[in-house]
Amino acid sequence: MRHSITIFWRLKDNHYKIYVTKCRDCGKTSSFKRLRCPYCSSKNVEYLESKGLGELINYAISYYRTEGSEQYLPRVIGLVRLDEGSVVVGEVTDVDLSELSVGMRVEAVLRKYSSEDPNGLIYYGLKFIPVIKR
């Protein structure tokens, strides 16, 4: 079993949608649903659902081969600044290496993270693609 069923199921919120945690105390935003503000540790936080749109601020083209993810090489790993302000790290897919550019608009879409084990679970989660609607 590659990933725990329970872990993946429990993380659905953070995999099927991008949430932004906003701290009511220090005012800062951070990506993903968190129990506490990562900046000031306050529990006085609220969650916003991100529209999944943002700007690619940095990217790396990865040939690093890890067991179970060979089918998707090379991967593009990017830092995306969401329109809501906070930054997420994630894979950028459906993109030619030559069309990648810092500043390009991207949107989050549901894709497979891994499904190599033919008898195991298929792990779905969000990746980024060049935005379709401009």
Binding site: P38, A60, T66, S86, V89
Partner: protein, 378 residues
């Protein structure tokens, strides 16, 4: 009267892919050398602190400290295993330091080991990725060299630094490794190979990244009472400091290692020291770009200018750093301390007459940074 702690002896193995030796054989080699250097016997040890990042993942061994004690043939002691990712060795040393300061032990054997070559690369790579946050990065196939690549791209863009500039770090590391008998990669490299170098995560290539390493390092850490027994000058472990950083994607500036900087501010204030270009430092260059950012965070070089000041640092990573000396993860920080002890006691190829030396250790891209301050025997 404040209790002081000392490294009275240390021993290491050559770093390599030791296909023919298991972890116990490597540990025995390092421990034998450390005991010989310190004039002590296995039966003198009160506490065995073992440091390893991946023994459970790759060697199927939980708590190897128990089995190391059994194999050393001495069981009348306390043992523990420190498994703290890439900073395991620093944590293990801090634990020994604290035990002695608290009066709970007087002679502690700290041993670090790792066997990164035990599996093919695609399995090792998956294990190494565990140093990042699983639920955020691991699950999404974000890996350690990807962060190094993002950070290198940002640094080059912001400060107008070229690839050739960055790889100067690796070139210097290899020059130092050639002079270091226990180093893994004892050959020089040149920027000319950049165009052909295998890419790991662009722009990070094999020329920028630490190798796959097996090794073991052992330190005898004691209070003042054992210092007379040694042939080599003991080195004082003055202080250990640490700080944690924000996740990479939440940092305002991914090119500034603020955890290393914060730990340095605490350490330098408390101990009234300031690093200069001629201070002996051993830093955690898992990738050349990280090495550059560390010396900027330690205020040895100006921000954005590390590549220009490399030639002015004669005692930086004299054994070749993680890049060329090697990176047997759980053992690496202990190699660093062993090498600084050699420098301070005159046993290194480099002739150093400074009073202090600093080891910097970190987890991934400065997620958790540790500093160990050492001082020459007075």
């Amino acid at each position: 009267m404040m209790v002081k702690t000392y490294v009275i002896g240390s021993g290491v193995t050559r770093i390599d892919r030791h296909y023919d030796k298991n972890y116990l054989a490597l540990v025995d080699e390092a421990v034998s050398r450390a005991l010989a250097a310190s004039g002590l016997d296995v039966s003198d040890i009160e506490y065995l602190v073992v440091s390893t990042a991946f023994s459970e993942t790759m060697l199927n061994q939980a708590d190897p400290s128990t089995y190391i004690a059994q194999n050393l043939g001495f069981r009348n002691l306390k043992t523990l295993t420190v498994s703290s990712g890439e900073v395991s060795g620093a944590v293990a040393l801090d634990y020994a330091h604290a035990l002695i300061k608290a009066g709970k032990a007087r002679k502690v054997l700290v041993v670090g080991f790792e066997k990164m070559s035990e599996y093919p690369s695609w399995v090792t790579n998956k294990a190494y990725t565990k140093i990042l946050e699983y639920e955020v990065e691991g699950i999404k196939n974000v890996t350690p060299p990807d962060y190094a690549a993002l950070i290198m791209s940002e640094y080059m863009r912001r400060y107008g630094v070229s690839r050739e500039d960055v790889v100067k770090w690796s070139i210097k590391m290899h020059e130092n490794a050639v002079k270091t008998p226990h180093a893994q990669l004892q050959f020089t490299i040149s920027a000319d190979s950049l165009g052909r170098a295998l890419r790991i995560s662009e722009p990070i290539t094999m020329l920028d990244s630490h190798p796959v390493s097996d090794g073991a390092a052992a330190l005898l850490v004691t209070d003042e009472s054992a210092t007379k027994k040694t042939g080599r000058e003991p080195v004082e472990v003055v202080d250990v400091e640490s700080s944690v950083n924000l996740p990479v994607y939440l940092r305002d500036d991914i090119t500034y290692f603020s955890a290393t900087a914060a730990a340095y501010k605490k350490l330098s204030t408390k101990n009234e020291i300031k690093l200069s270009k001629t201070t002996a430092v051993s830093v955690y260059d898992t990738y050349d770009i990280y090495g550059l950012l560390i010396i900027e965070a330690l205020e040895i070089c100006e921000i954005g200018k590390a590549t220009k000041c490399l030639d002015e640092l004669p005692f930086l990573n004299v054994s070749g750093g993680l890049k060329a000396r090697g990176h047997p993860v759980g053992a690496t920080p202990l190699y660093q301390v062993h090498e600084l002890c050699e420098l301070l006691s005159g046993a290194s190829w480099a002739k150093y007459d400074g009073d202090v030396a600093l080891a910097q250790v970190m987890s991934g891209p400065d997620n958790n940074a540790w500093l160990i301050l050492l001082k020459r025997w007075a």
